[in-house]
């Protein structure tokens, strides 16, 4: 047989890397090898990984890829890139519009997620249906329960077992473009009145029964979580009367607000902070009657295909040095005092993120029954098809 033309040539940098990879092949699967080669950057990163030991992740094979289900505009993309650089695990990000959608995917089975971001009121349902696992806290060394504000984090623990750890908390208010809408709006009553009046055709509500119906209920002073038929009927009447005046029923409201197609929208804290950061004329308001306060958690599905990577990413995100970047990117307030200590002062003083106690007091956490109540689902369908 003829010899390869490079056999006698001095070894090049890339050939050296090839040799290193062959050496490494005993411990890393071929799929891993194929997965990371072909990308110059990934190869460089890998070569670093081969030379330097990986103490944090050496114990378990993390595979080459994992998948997370989360919300739009909710992470610093650099977080996942840094995680991939440190571990060789590529992170696929799936974005969802509602907790029901996440629940539906997990109920249907084989979602393929290794980590996801459910909201407080869903966790008891996930546990009841056996869809998420009790977290192995030994694998989450970066999490410290004692630095968490339990006002926001209690729903992650059921009967003493931790099923979910917090990402951030937030509120559900509304964002209003004060450059377009001149009359100040301070309440949910004012929100719906402006939708029929000065901001006719310029107002958006969520495509989400929990917040849209809940906020309409607050106009009448009822609980955000009401499932009382008479109270729901009042909310329905209001929503249907306002529907012809709405710009859209959609939870993807940032594009329309940024284009000023919409002047006012139901809004979550993090979106409000992002809009206000880029367009200072957009204010974020908590309805004076109250509304929703929430916490988003991280949880691991029972059927996660790559649990080691799920835990590794979760532990990575629980490191305050990494978490603080997430908070700066998505603008949501933190539950962890270690993270708060690292946040820039202007974020801690931002009243969109950290409203005063008087504004927080009337807010209610969403309840599990609110999410799964069939009457509210049917109300929403009547509203949307009216």
């Amino acid at each position: 047989m003829t010899k390869g033309y490079r056999d006698n040539a001095p070894i090049s940098a890339s050939a050296f890397l090839d040799e290193l990879m062959r050496l490494k092949r005993g411990s890393v699967s071929r799929r891993h090898f194929l997965g990371v080669t072909g990308l110059g950057l990934a190869t460089a990163v890998l070569s670093r990984e081969l030379i330097l030991p990986r103490p944090a992740f050496a114990a378990e094979d993390l595979g080459t890829k994992m998948s997370i289900a989360t919300w739009p505009n909710y992470h610093d993309p650099a977080t996942f890139e840094a995680f991939t650089a440190a571990t060789g695990v590529a992170v696929e990000v799936n974005v969802f519009g509602s907790n029901e959608e996440m629940l539906a995917k997990l109920q249907a089975g084989a979602s393929g997620w290794d980590l996801f971001v459910p909201t407080n009121y869903t966790i008891s349902t996930y546990v009841k249906l056996g869809l998420i696992e009790a977290l192995d806290m030994a694998k989450l060394g970066n999490f410290d329960g004692s630095t968490q504000n339990t006002r926001f984090t209690s729903e992650g623990t059921i009967d003493g077992t931790v099923y979910a750890v917090p990402k951030n908390w937030g509120t559900t208010g509304f964002a209003v473009n004060t450059g377009k809408l001149k009359t100040p709006v301070t309440s949910w009553k004012g929100f719906f009145e402006a939708a029929k009046g000065e901001a006719d055709g310029r107002v958006m509500v969520h495509d989400y029964q929990l917040t849209t119906i809940g906020s309409a209920l607050k106009v009448f002073g009822y609980s955000f979580n009401s499932i009382d038929p008479a109270e729901l009927a009042k909310a329905e009447e209001l929503l249907i009367s306002v529907k012809p005046h709405l710009y859209a029923i959609s939870s993807d409201y940032q594009p329309a607000m940024r284009a000023t197609d919409a002047w006012m929208t139901m809004c979550w804290t993090n979106d409000g902070a992002q809009l206000n950061r880029d367009m200072p004329e957009i204010a974020y308001v908590l309805g004076s009657e109250g509304g929703e306060i929430w916490t988003d958690f991280y949880a691991i599905p029972k059927d996660a295909p790559n649990k080691p990577a799920g835990y590794a990413l979760l532990n990575y995100l629980m490191d305050p040095a990494n978490a603080v970047k997430e908070h700066i990117a998505n603008g949501a307030p933190t539950t962890d005092s270690r993270v708060a200590a690292l946040l820039p002062k202007e974020m801690l003083e931002n009243t969109i993120l950290y409203p005063d106690e008087a504004a927080l007091t009337p807010l209610e956490f969403g309840a599990a029954v609110t999410l799964t109540d069939p009457a509210r689902a049917e109300l929403m369908a009547r509203f949307k098809s009216a």
């Binding site: 509602s98 284009a259 369908a381 949307k384």
Partner: protein, 288 residues
Amino acid sequence: MAMSAAGKRRAVTGLLVAPAAAWLVVFLVLPFIAIVVFSLGERAPEGGYQPALTLAQYMNLPARAAAFWNTLVLAPIGALACLVVAYPVAYYLAVKADPRWRLLLVSLVVVPFWTSLLVRTYAWMYILGSRGIPNLLTLVGIEDVRLLNTPFAVLVGIVYGYLPLMIMPIYVSLEKLDRRLLEASADLGARPVSTFLGVTLPLSMPGVMTGVALVTILLLGEYLIPQLLGGGKVFFIGNALVDLFLQSRNWPFGSAIAVTLVLVVVVVLLGAMRLAYRVAGTRQVDLV
């Protein structure tokens, strides 16, 4: 032992049909049976399905009457709007266009399919949004025009998205047209308009009916365009289905609606075929 000629033919037919039949059984018949079974069940307390044997879901169908009505009205209107735009294009391509350019022009009709409908519909969001056409209109002094998130925007999206599906069958039927019939019509003294109405149009009816049926049937299940261009305010049966499966997780009710939708499509299809047969006076109607 040698197979009889008839046995051989049957075996060949069987082999030819087997892949398609297996495909249909696995991906159409079995899922449909599952949906029928689900539609007779009940919603579990936390959503999903729990076994039961009840017609309750079908009794509840009036709760989505508005969605059915919107769909049954907008689907034919959308198909007709497509037809109005598509027919002249198909006529030009098949009859008037220079044969040297014809292939290129016909390819251009199909080119949009190279990009996902989602991406193209998103593009329309920007064209119809306030930074698009309304912004241009303000330059000529027409203020506060709102196009996005209206039924008009949905109709524009539908015509745009489904146009090629209407053009192609009409083009094909016009292309097959025997030109000598047109000459005969002219020789016998018919003016161009009556030649078109008396000869061309009737002979292209199979293509027209195919296009209308194809677009109507696809529109009956449309979800994306009303969601993106209608701002979630235009509620089709497709949107009702998505909400029932992904939001309220009422799988049995969603299944009952799906079964009903399939029945509606079958009825529409049979109706269209009968109509096509009567209008075209021929059995050569290539419906789907």
